[in-house]
């Protein structure tokens, strides 16, 4: 029988003293010197593992005091969002700059979880159900990684390589994520059994870029990583170009929306699991595809 044991009911291995660097340079030095120390930000993923004895790191590297990770800024056409920015701040502060990311943040957990959980933690956890990930993939964001000696920038779609797997090296930390400023309407929708506190059964981001005239999608929780529905994107871009719809935005035919939804569903590679069947996920994605695109288009026409 598998029964969980709380911390005080078993003899705990001693952990070495927690590392609590005050700035990024110290944090990167500590990361290099103690590659087995586990970074901790908001703790909303990691503390669960520690509380349930699923994980016993030798040491913890606490990132919660590092001011350089805790802010965000606009640099030209990009937002540079520090890894330590919480979902509550994304929900409240992204506004029209990255509306899809703000919407996704609002669906995460509860107020208590959003007050602590960070965008960097969501990216590092690299769950296919990580709700910050679809809007980042749809926006073409880049993950900024640094070690004590080097830094690099990796497209988010190349960063996550499988469920809970990514290309971050043991001496690296995520410092920030670079997100292009929105150039059109964005939507995020998530399916789950209630309106809060749910891991996505499936989710979808749709972003319109009215300047580049592109449609971008990203599907969450229906494949080993976040996937784009590139055929759906190309189809809808074709429909909009053909009708001259970017210049004269009229209503979209229901048949085009339906086809878009079908192509979104076809791009997913869902599995049957406790949260839903593969067939249900495909069905739900077709609905989300139609809805989110029509919401974006209504906003574009307004």
């Amino acid at each position: 029988m598998v029964r969980r044991q709380g911390p005080r009911r078993r003899i705990l291995p001693l952990l070495e003293a927690t590392l609590q660097p005050r700035d990024l340079a110290d944090a990167l030095a500590a990361r290099g010197a103690h590659p087995t120390a586990l970074p901790l930000a908001g703790g909303t993923d990691l503390m669960v593992e520690i509380n349930f004895d699923r994980r016993r790191p030798e040491r913890i590297l606490d990132l919660s005091r590092i001011a350089e990770l805790a802010g965000w800024d606009r640099e030209g056409d990009e937002l540079v969002i520090g890894a330590g920015v919480t979902h509550a701040r994304l929900e409240g502060e992204m506004g029209g700059l990255a509306p899809g990311l703000g919407m996704a943040a609002r669906t995460i957990g509860s107020p208590q979880i959003r007050n602590r959980g960070t965008i960097g933690g969501n990216i590092a956890t690299s769950s296919p159900a990580g709700d910050a990930l679809p809007p980042l993939v749809a926006a073409g964001a880049r993950v900024e990684l640094a070690s004590a000696t080097a830094s690099r920038s990796v497209p988010i779609s190349e960063f996550c390589t499988g469920p809970k797997r990514n290309v971050m090296a043991p001496d690296e930390l995520i410092t920030a994520v670079r997100v292009p400023v929105a150039q059109g309407p964005q939507q995020f929708a998530k399916v789950g059994p209630r309106n809060a506190m749910v891991i996505a059964v499936c989710s979808l981001s749709v972003h319109l870029d009215a300047v580049a005239r592109t449609v971008r999608t990203a599907i969450g929780s229906a494949a080993p990583t976040i996937v784009r529905a590139t055929e759906a994107e190309a189809f809808m871009e074709g429909v909009l170009d053909e009708r001259g719809a970017w210049e004269r935005p009229g209503p979209l035919p229901a048949s085009a929306l339906a086809r878009f939804g079908e192509l979104v569903a076809a791009a997913a590679r869902p599995i049957d699991d406790v949260r839903g069947s593969a067939a249900y996920r495909r069905h739900a994605l077709a609905v989300l595809g139609r809805r989110t695109l029509s919401w974006c288009w209504q906003e574009h026409r307004a």
Partner: protein, 157 residues
């Protein structure tokens, strides 16, 4: 290394802790403050909710070390001993307390909500309390309590 933190306005020093220990564990087991309840230890129920530097958090998901030199407010700190605050009084009067296990968490979440938004509508109340579970009341009385507390605080200006 000693853990030093402020709880309900008082500075506490804890001689030694296990490095993986949560803030909830320190509050309950080392500082004898059992107001924050331990139910799930995974952020799902909100019964361990406290304020950490004025931010509502699940204390089971805060590493105790992260509270080093920070300020924590628990349900015990909302009113003087033997007294209750406006939100607590509203929970008592509306029947929002049955077994009482979830109550401290709901009180903390309500305090946080009314500080941000003194006159919330029902949708706002539901969203603010979405991280707190109650197995007894069916939530309706809790919504009544929040509305009553909001009205009273509004009347007090």
């Amino acid at each position: 290394m000693k853990l030093i933190l402020t709880v309900n306005g008082e500075i506490h020093e804890v001689e030694s802790i296990w490095e993986g220990e949560s803030l909830m564990h320190v509050l309950r087991e080392r500082l004898a403050l059992p107001g924050a309840k331990n139910a799930c230890e995974q952020g799902e129920c909100g019964s361990c909710s406290v304020m950490l530097d004025e931010v509502l958090v699940c204390s089971c998901l805060v590493l105790a070390r992260q509270a080093q030199e920070r300020s924590v407010v628990t349900v015990e700190g909302l009113a003087p001993p033997d007294d209750v605050g406006v939100v607590q009084q509203a929970f008592i009067e509306t029947g929002a307390v049955q077994c009482g296990f979830c109550t401290p968490g709901f009180i903390m979440a309500t305090e946080d909500l009314l500080r941000r938004s003194p006159a919330p509508d029902d949708a706002e109340i539901r969203e603010a309390l979405a991280g707190n579970l109650c197995r007894c009341t069916g939530y309706e009385k809790i919504l009544d309590a929040v509305r009553l507390a909001s009205a009273r605080l509004g009347a007090m200006g």
